[in-house]
């Protein structure tokens, strides 16, 4: 599903450059639950951003479902964001001015899904996440764990094939983290969604079926 070939990423610093990722070769298959681990500054977040098309590699090739991403135009990338990729962020990144319901609905708006279908899909997800009672609240009225549930609900409403999660439980205490991780496992097993998470936690990594260690921009064998 995701194929990275000799991916490098560096930023210019003064007259030289600062390497973040070097010659990454990585293949992730459909249905996998991958945990990317490594110390701070090892490049794992950058790797995730590249996979999520939020950042472009300096060198190398990235094939998403066999198609070269660097050849895609803006429109096609936007299509992928709308249809195939869902994001979950450490800081939740909900839109403060929108209610729970509206936050979840937003990706559907961008997909031009008709109103009645939007309603039923959002209702389904709210139901499934047990959040019907909270649908009219604003993010600031929710606890961190609840906000992250909304974040995940928003990530899956567009029925993506892959969810990219950047330290999804980083801001949560362990009980909440456990709920979130079980949810990911469930999505992976029941809904067959490919999940790639960046995490510090060995416990979290056990929910997945593959661990990739990164150090100094290299994947550790």
């Amino acid at each position: 599903m995701i194929q990275l070939q000799k991916i490098s990423k560096h930023y210019p610093v003064g007259f030289g450059k600062n390497d973040i990722l070097k010659d990454i070769d990585l293949t992730i298959n459909e249905g996998e639950f991958v945990s990317i681990m490594g110390p701070s500054g090892s490049g794992k977040s950058t790797l995730l951003h590249i996979m999520g098309l939020l950042e472009e590699p300096s060198e190398g090739q990235y094939l998403f479902e066999g198609e070269r991403v660097d050849k895609m135009n803006e429109k096609k990338r936007t299509q992928l964001h709308r249809g195939s990729i869902g994001f979950v962020f450490q800081a939740y990144h909900l839109i403060d001015e929108l209610t729970v319901y509206e936050n979840i609905e937003t990706p559907l708006l961008y997909k031009n899904i008709p109103s009645s279908e939007r309603k039923s899909r959002v209702a389904d997800v709210l139901d499934r996440f047990n959040m019907v009672a909270k649908k009219d609240l604003f993010p600031s009225q929710l606890s961190g764990g609840q906000q992250q549930l909304v974040g995940i609900a928003r990530a899956i409403i567009g029925e993506p094939r892959v969810i990219l999660a950047d330290e999804p439980t980083g801001n949560l205490h362990s009980d909440q983290a456990k709920i979130i991780m079980q949810l990911f496992k469930h999505l992976n097993e029941q809904d067959k969604i490919t999940i790639i998470q960046v995490t510090h936690s060995d416990v979290n990594a056990t929910y997945g079926n593959r661990v990739i260690q990164i150090r100094d921009g290299h994947i550790q064998p």
């Binding site: 939020l54 839109i95 001015e97």
Partner: protein
């Protein structure tokens, strides 16, 4: 659906960030409102006389005569000119003569209720085709018939109410100047405020031969020049040139030195009219100021929106990650901006309607209420709305939609990237404009102060002027004696005209070594010279010469211009066919406004002026009042005395110092308006800065917290945050000062007597601008600087 979503979101953002919303929408509304008011005024000025159906084909005649170095313009013609012109030009379909009364005041009186009586300045004799020539609506009466017969009269509806109350005016009688009875044959609507012809009374032209004092004007068949305004209607406006050529051939045959031109009706108000003064000069300036103010408000709006965008950057990033392309983001911000702009516009319309009476009062202009719904005004307002929405929306949505999502989401976003340098330029522009306007205001006000307080050489305090008309007849001296004997009256004097309100003029012909000269003259008595406190340069050897005929007193300029130095006394001048001996020289004094240099002046002094003027002329009684009198009761006594001698012409009076002040009405208006503009501009610029400072403080919350923990004091933090803004204000001042200096130097050139710009004006401006900026910045920065670092660092 998405659209609804945008609006909902825009509204939530609006109510969440109240301060910014108020600054943003309020500032834009204020700018728009001023723009609307000025545009209303400009549209009104431009719409003059265009409501006449045939306006493009109607022309007013204007004659220019060159006299030495001056060109004199007349718009008055002979009774016979109209018919003659029509006869000799096939293209002239009809003509219209409008006769005003050559200095005579029209006194109108309700015949059945003689107590209802007043002097009416807007009374004219017109030809019978008035209502087909122009498009003034006639409310009652047959347009073709109302002015056909002698002694028929059409009055305006407000005059109908004034003279006849609720009764029907048609068929009633009005007495004109106590002698002639007119039948009211029709009632017309009051002229719209954008009409150059503002008639209250129209008397049929056929009456003129029947009126003794006017009869002469109909019998003088030859030459041009007379008491009638003359309009002609052509079959096609394209024939204007031919007709002009023909008329000029005709007048050349009549040995008239003038040159005739045809002025289109719609251009009279702004072009050829010599009273246009104020309108013309500032009509060009005002739209520029209006656009400038709108631009500032829009700039404010845009720079605040982009600044706010740095706070919304995260939202944009998320939306992009969720599948929004930059078009969608642009749409969203566009809708948001447009919504705010629309709100601002609605607010501005409300403000405009509320402030309109006050604004036009300030301008001392009359504009009909209905003019607000004039198609031109509506067109301008719609255009204003569109421009606002387009401009206000485009820049923010353009900037915002280009944020890169990862930069934002991964926290690498440096918040200043959103057009910070553009914002700096905009801030400089705003404060620069504000500074220019402040300097202009100061200079205009100082010039006005100078006008009002320069020693003019005339004592203006406590002098009452009572003009009288020929109807006072031979009773002038008796009237004067009685006024002089009133308690509280110090002295009385006489002049042919009230001061600061016109003079007689003579052309003194050329002699051997004496160039020709235009000489202002005024017939006065000795008491008037004492009341006015005129100073002698060379007093007459024998004061009793004052009051003997054939003697004249000149001012210094006249002596100099006519080459009479060094011994002017005893020299002679020819005033028309009168020989005048110079018996004294007065020091120069300002008998006209300080706009113009002091001109040559000659005073002819009489003991008793009335025989000199004959019985048919008017004059003015000057009354010097002792200080501390009960003025209203004194005026009432003078009024009673006056009415005893003249029951005909209503009593009018004015104070000499008021008459003096009135000469500066145009500058007074300008000062008022500029004061308003300046206040608004400073307010808008201040609001903008307030908004930017708030954002800057918000962006730097964490930095401030860290600095405080490291030991920075509140003052240091405030200085840190203010420094950047103050630098911009200083740059603005440096740019604005020379520009304002140049502009005001140009403006001052038009006055013969003017102030010099002083350094303190610029220093004061700098202080004002910096104070405004400090106030705007200070509030926000001090709040940020005094916050407890523990709370600020817990952000995130």
């Amino acid at each position: 659906m998405l659209f609804y979503n945008y609006i909902k979101l825009a509204w939530r953002n609006l109510s969440k960030r109240k301060l910014y919303s108020v600054i943003n929408i309020g500032g834009l509304a204020a700018g728009l409102c001023v723009c609307m008011l000025i545009m209303l005024y400009v549209a009104h000025e431009l719409s003059y006389d265009r409501f006449h159906k045939d306006a493009p084909r109607i022309f007013s005649l204007l004659e220019r005569i060159k006299m030495q170095n001056d060109t004199i313009q007349f718009d008055r013609f002979n009774y016979a000119n109209g018919p003659a012109i029509q006869q000799q030009n096939a293209a002239v379909k009809s003509y219209m003569r409008i006769g005003s009364l050559l200095g005579e005041t029209a006194i109108m009186q309700n015949v059945s209720h003689p107590a209802i009586k007043d002097a009416e300045p807007e009374a004219y004799f017109v030809d019978a085709n008035y209502f087909s020539f122009f498009s003034f609506p006639l409310l009652e009466g047959d347009p073709a018939e109302v002015l056909r017969q002698p002694f028929m009269m059409v009055i305006s509806s407000s005059m109908a109410t004034k003279y006849f109350g609720k009764e029907d005016a048609v068929g009633k009688q009005i007495r004109y100047n106590g002698k002639y009875t007119f039948q009211v044959s029709g009632v017309m609507a009051d002229a719209p405020s954008n009409s150059s012809i503002q008639a209250d009374f129209l008397m049929s032209g056929a009456s003129i031969p029947g009126i003794e004092s006017l009869r002469q004007f109909t019998t003088d068949p030859h030459g041009f020049g007379g008491p009638f305004k003359l309009y002609i209607k052509l079959d096609d406006a394209a024939n204007r040139e031919n007709v002009t050529k023909n008329i000029n051939l005709q007048i050349a045959q009549d040995k008239d030195p003038g040159l005739i031109s045809l002025v289109p009706l719609a251009k009279i108000h702004l072009g050829a009219n010599f009273q246009a003064g104020f309108n013309l000069r500032y009509l060009k300036l005002f739209p520029m100021v209006a656009i400038l103010i709108l631009l500032m408000a829009l700039i404010n709006y845009m720079s605040l929106s982009t600044a706010r965008a740095t706070i919304r950057a995260r939202e944009i990033g998320i939306r992009k990650a969720l599948g929004a392309d930059h078009k969608r983001i642009a749409q969203q911000f566009y809708v948001e901006s447009a919504l705010y702009a629309l709100l601002a516009f609605c607010l501005a319309v409300v403000l405009c309607i509320t402030l309109r009476p006050w604004f036009f009062n300030l301008l001392q202009l009359k504009v009909d209420n209905g003019f607000l719904y004039n198609p031109m005004v509506i067109f301008i307002y719609v255009a204003l709305l569109l421009v606002t929405i387009i401009v206000a929306g485009s820049y923010p949505s353009f900037i915002l939609s280009r944020y890169k999502p990862v930069a934002v989401l991964a926290g690498k976003m440096s918040p200043v990237s959103g057009g910070a340098s553009v914002r700096k330029v905009l801030t400089v522009l705003q404060f620069g404009t504000a500074a220019v306007l402040i300097i202009c205001s100061i200079v205009i006000n100082r010039q006005l102060y100078f006008f009002r307080h320069t020693a003019t050489g005339i004592n203006k305090e406590n002098v009452l002027m009572v003009p009288f008309a020929s109807t006072l007849g031979t009773h002038y001296q008796a009237f004067r004696q009685q006024v002089a004997s009133l308690n509280g009256v110090l002295q009385t004097g006489t002049a042919h005209h009230p001061l600061f309100n016109g003079m007689d003029m003579w052309f003194v012909s050329e002699e051997a070594d004496r160039p020709a000269m235009t000489l202002y003259s005024l017939n006065v008595d000795r008491q008037l010279m004492e009341i006015a406190g005129l100073q002698w340069k060379i007093p007459p050897q024998d004061m009793s010469q004052l009051g003997m005929g054939g003697k004249i007193v000149l001012n210094e300029i006249a002596v100099e211009k006519y080459n009479l130095s060094p011994t002017p006394i005893g020299k002679h001048l020819q005033l028309g066919n009168k020989d005048m001996e110079v018996i004294g020289v007065l020091k120069n004094f300002h008998f006209v406004s300080l706009h113009s240099p002091i001109a040559p002046l000659g005073l002819t002094v009489e003991k008793d002026n009335s025989p000199v003027w004959g019985t048919n002329t008017a004059g003015c009684l000057f009354v010097k009042i002792a200080p501390g009198q009960n003025i209203p009761s004194l005026i009432e006594q003078i009024r009673k005395t006056y009415t005893n001698y003249d029951a005909q012409t209503p009593f009018k009076y004015s104070f000499l110092d008021d008459a003096f002040g009135k000469m500066y009405t145009a500058e007074d208006r300008l000062a008022n308006i500029f004061g308003g503009f300046t206040a608004l501009t400073v307010l808008i610029a201040g609001l903008g800065l307030l908004g930017l400072a708030a954002f800057s403080a918000e962006q730097r919350t964490r930095e401030i917290g860290v600095r405080k923990i490291l030991g920075a004091s509140v003052i240091q933090i405030t200085a840190l945050l203010s420094k950047d803004f103050m630098r911009l204000v200083v740059v603005a001042l440096v740019i604005a000062s020379p520009l304002a200096w140049y502009l005001m130097q140009q403006w001052l050139q038009q006055f013969a007597y003017r102030i010099h710009m002083q350094p303190w004006m610029f220093v004061l401006t700098a202080i004002m601008a910096i104070t405004a900026a400090l106030l705007a910045i200070g509030l926000q920065t001090i709040r940020a600087a005094t916050r407890n670092p523990v709370t600020t660092l817990r952000v995130e």
